[in-house]
Symmetry: C2
Subunit: 433 residues, 2 copies
């Protein structure tokens, strides 16, 4: 049973805060283990990678087989049924079209002092994408990570994907090819992150690492941050649906379940202006749970973390939504667009009942790597900008330096940084002679 | 004595790699202490803040005096000499003008399938800026952090600045006022970061924390990352100057010293096509070091981490510069603009001999919070974007869902995510009835 809350309950604020503060991730003590793995990979290189892969993936590798050969990729891709290939191609094309609009503009101008100012965006030289293995090995995530990198102009892209017992997902390899990734390592876990950050004889180091992963991968990304750039530390998936009574309860039920089925730690919340509708949705969820393949996972997520919140009006719904700052926000209301316009904190908004969140996971176009655990308050989904960086530009003329240099000198002296001031003064003196 | 390298040396590659790999920061074991401080602030709130401030800043506070009163700020600001006030106002105006051009554009379009797609940028609701105390208490840094936040539209801005022995820097308070920051806490160290991240009775929590700090502050920022957003972990300052022989050696010498004087761990590197010019610069540095106020700091930085690298040609200079990925790159060459155009990795470029780096620290306009320690390979200086986040938008019509939904369903099934597919299927079935 999910929680049922109502803003008219006397203890609503307490219960809502408890919902917000729910710790959904196991507090595993993995950091120490991860530190040791990273140190080992830095010290022993390829041999450490081979040892960890034997231990965790039950797979014997050599420096030569750390990476998939072109023939291996070809052979795997040939097994993909045409319908799945077409679907992946459609997804790739739509994701590419969306992300191509994100390429940022350079700027250059001359101000009234005669100073030329601006900035220029350039791509990261090399990026590494982590793709989880096992159940969470999603070809769609390959596209969502690799295509923005490719659109940004990253020259060298690689993937690390574990292949437990040597089993690879052909769709993952096809997605890599569609996104222009040539190098795919049979590597997972903290050891893969360490290899991409520091390099080994067989793994060229990269400048930026993105992609989801388990607690070991997340801890490793946090540790190598600084040595390389990382995207974000992704937590369990979440959906918030705001729905009025004028909806099919079953549609909303499957939308809620589409997040709940990801992970027992996922969270699905419905906010509605109509309590009876909320109850109807909960009943529809129970009905779907009777037959859903992943009913055990989805049922536990819904029971432990699910919630149905009844509000007095749409304004209350928006205010609660902004406090939740959901990863995915679906708005199934008559005035969905107006409501969307007033939302401040959300990773992605799906507007109107004809826009199920799952569309955004695959073929909508926007990225499905989105800020979780309320981090949409301060961060954004993955984009082309994550694979680029900005260099600021400044060019003074003698006149411009004469105009603004004395102020710089004054501030340098007041900050006790004499040489800063002298570097301006030496030039200004030339002008006066 | 700085190191002298030349690309014609047989052991150049080895020595250059050693230069790149130099560890300039003390590997202090502060992380454990910081974890304890954060836990203590979360547990004891204001009282922990008061206790740490008594211990580290020798200052007795109460919940009421944690924050500067308006009268205290007024009184301090009144002591600022007019010349310094004008210089700070000029700096604020120029920084604001530059950053106002960084406001990002929203986007919304309808694609050929009839899907409405786009994104919308919104500001972070609340941001906290850390301003170091003591020698490194720089009013210019207040402007560089607070103005982008203000331009982004952040509603609530606060500053934490330690005041050792109760001494505050009036220019810091003036800079805060110029940048629209109302709330300034007398707090420093890891406890200040913890308070801004988690909140106490007297400190309202924020969503994003930026600003430089010592090893404790850096470790605390790394630890609270996820609970709040952070800007970057700043390391010691660096400058790389590329200069041809047609320069005044003294100009280049003071430019190198303007970074060296920041910190004994700062690094100043000259790359030149003319070895004799490099030697003349080194001689000019020594001369300036005889009288420079901060000669002890600057001299140690220059001796320990300084380098003069002679290259065969400009192409070599550019290639080495991109490997260094300097925080600050100054190009004092006849064809400075052409060289700047080919640089790929640098935080900020100062083009031409009339653009000393120090201009960028104060009044140029671009931000002086820049990626250090080679992180310009994957990250950018502070900007308006650091205080904003992007929400992606998608709105399907029934026709659009009919066009692209089946591909989403196919991929959902292939990924084993049945409910994802059902959320599309339920809607498509309605269309078929």
């Amino acid at each position: 049973m999910p929680q049922f809350l109502s803003t008219t309950d006397p203890d609503f604020e307490t219960n809502f805060r408890a919902l917000l503060g729910m710790k959904r991730e196991a507090d595993e003590d993995v950091d120490k283990a991860v530190a040791a793995i990273i140190a080992d990979v830095r010290a022993r290189g390829d041999q450490a990678l081979i040892d960890y892969t034997a231990r965790y993936d039950r797979l014997t590798l050599t420096p030569e087989t750390l990476v998939f050969s072109v023939e291996e990729v070809d052979a795997a891709i040939a097994t993909v049924p045409p319908q799945e290939r077409s679907a992946l191609e459609l997804a790739a094309a739509r994701i590419r079209a969306y992300h191509e609009r994100q390429r940022p503009e350079n700027a250059l101008w001359t101000d009234e002092a005669g100073a030329q100012l601006g900035w220029r965006w350039t791509a990261v030289s090399a990026a590494g994408l982590y793709v989880p293995g096992g159940l969470a090995s999603y070809p769609s995530s390959v596209l969502m990570n690799a295509i923005p990198a490719q659109v940004a102009g990253v020259e060298r892209l690689c993937i690390c994907a574990p292949t437990p017992d040597g089993v690879a997902n052909p769709l993952v390899l096809l997605a890599a090819r569609l996104a222009g990734v040539e190098t795919i390592y049979r590597l997972g876990g903290a050891q893969a992150i360490a290899a991409m950050a520091y390099g080994t004889d067989s793994v060229q180091p990269v400048d930026k690492i993105t992609g989801p992963g388990n607690a070991f991968v997340a801890a490793a990304k946090r540790r190598v941050f600084g040595q390389v750039g990382i995207d974000m530390i992704a937590g369990p998936s979440e959906i918030l649906v705001i729905a009025d009574a004028d909806n099919d309860p079953d549609w909303i039920a499957v939308d809620l379940l589409s997040q709940a089925e990801h992970d027992e730690s996922a969270q699905s919340i419905l906010i509605t202006t109509d309590r009876a509708f909320g109850e109807a949705v909960a009943k529809a969820v129970d009905k779907r749970l009777e037959t859903l393949e992943r009913r055990k996972i989805a049922g536990k997520s819904w029971a432990d973390f699910g919630a149905v919140i009844t509000v007095r009006n749409v304004e209350e719904a928006v205010a609660l939504s902004d406090r939740i700052a959901p990863e995915h926000l679906e708005i199934a209301c008559a005035d969905a667009q107006d409501i969307a316009d007033t939302i401040r904190h959300a990773g992605a908004i799906f507007i109107g009942a004809w826009t199920p969140e799952a569309i955004g996971d695959y073929v909508g176009g926007p990225n499905h790597v989105l800020p979780t655990a309320r981090s949409a308050r301060f961060s954004s989904g993955l984009s082309v900008l994550d694979f680029m960086k900005r260099t600021t530009l400044a060019r003074m003329t003698p006149d411009a330096l004469a105009a603004i240099g004395p102020a710089a000198e004054t501030l340098a002296i007041s900050e006790g940084l004499e040489a800063h001031g002298l570097s301006v003064r030496a030039r200004l003196e030339r002008l006066n002679t």
